[in-house]
Point group: C2
Chain length 302, copies 2
Amino acid sequence: MADLLVVGSVAFDTVRTPFGKADEVLGGSATYFSYAASFFTGVRLVAVVGADFPKAHLELLARRGVDLTGLQVADGPTFRWAGEYGYDLSEAKTLDTRLGVFADFRPTLPEPFRRTPFLFLANIDPDLQLNVLRKLERPRLCALDTMNFWIQGKREALQRVVAEVDALVVNDAEARMLTEEPNLVKAARRILGYGPRIVVIKRGEYGVLMATDGRFFFAPAFPLDSVYDPTGAGDTFAGGFMGALARAGTLDEAALRRAIVYGSVMASFTVEDFSLNRLLRLEPREIEERYHAFREMMRLEQ
Amino acid sequence: MADLLVVGSVAFDTVRTPFGKADEVLGGSATYFSYAASFFTGVRLVAVVGADFPKAHLELLARRGVDLTGLQVADGPTFRWAGEYGYDLSEAKTLDTRLGVFADFRPTLPEPFRRTPFLFLANIDPDLQLNVLRKLERPRLCALDTMNFWIQGKREALQRVVAEVDALVVNDAEARMLTEEPNLVKAARRILGYGPRIVVIKRGEYGVLMATDGRFFFAPAFPLDSVYDPTGAGDTFAGGFMGALARAGTLDEAALRRAIVYGSVMASFTVEDFSLNRLLRLEPREIEERYHAFREMMRLEQ
């Protein structure tokens, strides 16, 4: 049963970090998201690739049970992104973006996809996000990601779709930019005022902050000896978060908090290697082990 | 019963933040530490002030039961520090430091002080820290703070005293500088290898990380709507941490974790106003309320 629909990008990434380099490897928000979520629930993917996209990459997703009937193959090159990170790994410097077929992406939903209970609108044009959202028979939970490009360039369209989703999942810089409020606590409250009842703010190596109805929850990032490549960490987090929620079936505070930690668990694996390499060799047992390690690290009362 | 001894500075601070300015107000590591700790246990203070130091300031500490028999009054001016913060409030830019009588500070311990079970060596010359430590009949727990000045200028002396204490309490930049290791997880492990069995790394608005015997614990910073002045937050944290440990009487992992949160609670009050102003109007009831709020924010299993 496919419970979770993601609309986003599938791409080739070229990434340079102080620890190595990866050329034209599998990337994209919908890729990281769906692969991570597939450990928890059935996933439906809506995206576009070019004719140059290798079948082998699609088979990686298909083997995880990801439903690819919403994946369009268009004439032209697949979306390509190139970036590099300095030693602190906290922010990517974009070296090159070639949208290719992604420039004219118009998500189309196969008929059965319209009745998917959980929806994640990854970082794409907010007009397209709203369009997808309105095509769905009211989902149980709809979450949205965005980026500085849309906050600055299409603020009104973005505000329209933000007002209609249940959850916003953004990083701290985006939360500050969207609200024009430097204090993250006030920024989170302001976003709750826009409509969403859940705000999730990703803070990289400092973990995640969730605000719901005046309550705050903090999860740390997993203490890793080595972080090789943060690319995809945010989308992997979102995949683990939404996947765990779909699996739980409930949306109370306890379920949301556990999902935040599952998201953090999945992201902590992604950054251990380039592209999806760590996820490709991930065992479900390792997910539960790391979840328990998180719980121990956060436990105040023994 | 005075269970906790602190050796450090008492000073006048002049602080400028984007939200206001405070001139020649009460400050200093031993001041923030002892005032915060006094909510939990009896405190003995060893420091030096000049003849220019107002009695009213001392009475603030005396009224909290702080034992001032180890406070020296020397000829000359009291230590003065001036600094300013930008909008992110994460790091102070020092504008002026006038050591005054602090330059020749030689801590002397009244005889009864030698049998104090908990000792905090605030940020002073590591040779003086070692000297104090050796004068004590083996305390139950000795913790030490330091700063970049000593890490760069007196590394060998610092390593000697670090090897003899139970706990190191530093900020993230200091932990990285001391170990020459950018990864904070590896840095914490390396410090455990130097001798201490407890490493506490303060990360400002991102909270605190504690490493003990291969276990990690994370506490967030309290989500505040307004931070006015971070001066003294680290020393206040240490005062709450050590005070809560002295009050608990046990040093197991559960007690250490609760003490980390009490330290975070106290620091969250200090930053709400300039100098010790917020602590001066603090009610014990507020401490417990905020501790419970922390517990709720960190609770994974409901």
